[in-house]
Symmetry: C2
Subunit: 301 residues, 2 copies
């Protein structure tokens, strides 16, 4: 196993201008591990309740995701989120969040996971992200995501996490919120001062920035006429990116750039259907085709 | 002369978080002609009043801008705008707009301007844009900009203008407003149906999109830690882009892409100081250096 994803596995009810889906499979670790599974042998650490549908387990298994780290609490209920997107769908409005089994989650990393070289800390409480890191044996590269909620409520703990990872991967609003600046360049510089070698700033439909020790890189999002459901795009991006890195031989500038491109492609497929419906049935050829398209979108001489 | 820019020449008082400038040189045709002058022999059609400072005339002359088309109404006052930028400075708040001589402006194109092959219709009343086009002898390429105000008040006239130009160059909000869609890809497709071969959508700090008959192209903005004054960035972009096209031998996809890159570079210099302070004193080497930087920002394999 090359990639370990840690985060939430959830049951979501979501509504967008294009429809409504009841009790669908969601969660940061779900999206991330499905995306990573296209590029590397991937395992998952998360918790679900006794109500977690067998078919969702099977879906993850079919993608080859190793589920030895998925705790199931028989008399608990799975983390549940419901919400909706309106207008330009840039931000979800939450109707209900039930932490359920997540409230007392302690990520126990199975012994055979502890040597995994690539670790993706999906969006969960930064204290849990730290717990995970403590159990790992010197991973080669740690990717870390978070959300505005933790930036506001646990900035000190989050800073501790950032100090221990090589890649911070967050969205533009969060980068500015955490660093108290309105320039992404300044935000990235401040984040890098904490230790991370790479800062990836996700900008939704506006694409993505990669800030590295020597250079700056940017890609547009794949232009789409319709976004059906933007949920999970960021997790899909991060999962695909770390999956690509795990399969690469070096971790130089161009490899990171390619990882960002692969993440962009997978995220674009993600938002073209509800939940992970589109991503689970992707073919390597579809991924390659869109990657070539993306390359052509930024080429000039 | 290769490029003709039509639009406003104004006196502006602007305030940003970084300072305040009283009665400075502004206006869409000012920014555009200064930017274009770095790449092509450029003329300007606009109107000013008797109060227009001699030093601003000299500034434009020093940039080699042909002023035969600049009408001066001795007993009139120059178009005046005052406003301020706050926060992320994405949008100016207007304090005062005095149209003055602009109220009765009739763009009279000097005879020797009528064969100019590249025409930039800066942001003015679409009726005036049409008047300009009627006086021109089959220009090779017409670029057209506008603003939300005309989209709302004169959509029919504006559509008439769009039907007569080869390049529509507007910002993302305006593109969505005019076409009634929230996807830039759909907005560009609808605009192209009216006739223009190329649609350039400016997204401020998020960069720029170019939609063409066969392809899509995107560039990020040059990352900056500080934007001193965003005014005129769009006009500077358009002026530089059409200036580059006027100097190029063909008008194929790659030439348009390069023009968008040149525009991006010039716009980035523009916003690094108040008004056109930075752009007027640029050197070809500075432009070339940043263009190479921009190329490196999107390169991956």
């Amino acid at each position: 196993m090359n990639v370990l994803t840690v985060g939430s596995v959830a049951i979501d009810t979501v509504e967008t201008p294009y429809g409504r889906l009841e009790r669908a499979l969601g969660g940061s670790a779900t999206y991330a591990s499905i995306a990573a599974s296209f590029f590397a042998k991937t395992g998952l650490v998360a918790v679900v309740g006794g109500d977690f549908p067998r078919r969702y387990i099977n879906l993850l298994k079919r993608r080859g995701v190793d589920l030895a780290g998925l705790q199931q609490i028989p008399d608990g209920k799975t983390f549940y989120w419901s919400g909706y997107y309106e207008g330009d769908m840039n931000q979800a409005t939450t109707r209900e969040t039930l932490l359920n089994v997540f409230e007392s989650f302690n990520p126990a990393i199975p012994e055979r996971y502890r040597n995994v070289p690539f670790v993706l800390l999906g969006n969960i409480h930064p204290a849990l992200q730290l717990e995970v890191l403590e159990q790992m044996h010197r991973p080669r590269l740690v990717f870390c995501d978070t959300m505005n909620y933790w930036i506001q409520s646990e900035p000190k703990l989050l800073e501790k996490v950032f100090r221990k990872v090589q890649v911070v991967c967050i969205n533009d609003g969060e980068a500015c919120q955490f660093t108290g600046t309105s320039s992404l360049l300044s935000a990235a510089a401040r984040l890098m001062k904490l230790g991370p070698r790479w800062i990836i700033i996700k900008k939704g439909a506006h694409g993505v920035h990669l800030y590295g020790p020597k250079n700056f890189f940017a890609l547009p999002a794949i232009p789409l006429t319709k976004v059906l459901d933007p949920t999970g795009a960021g997790d899909t991006f991060a999962g695909a990116a770390i999956g690509h890195l795990a399969g690469a031989r070096k971790l130089d500038e161009n490899t990171l750039r390619k990882a960002v491109a692969v993440g962009t492609v997978m995220a674009s497929y993600c938002v073209q259907d509800f939940r992970c419906r589109r991503t689970v049935r992707l073919t390597p050829k579809e991924i390659e085709t869109r990657l070539r398209q993306l390359m052509s979108y930024v080429r000039f001489s």
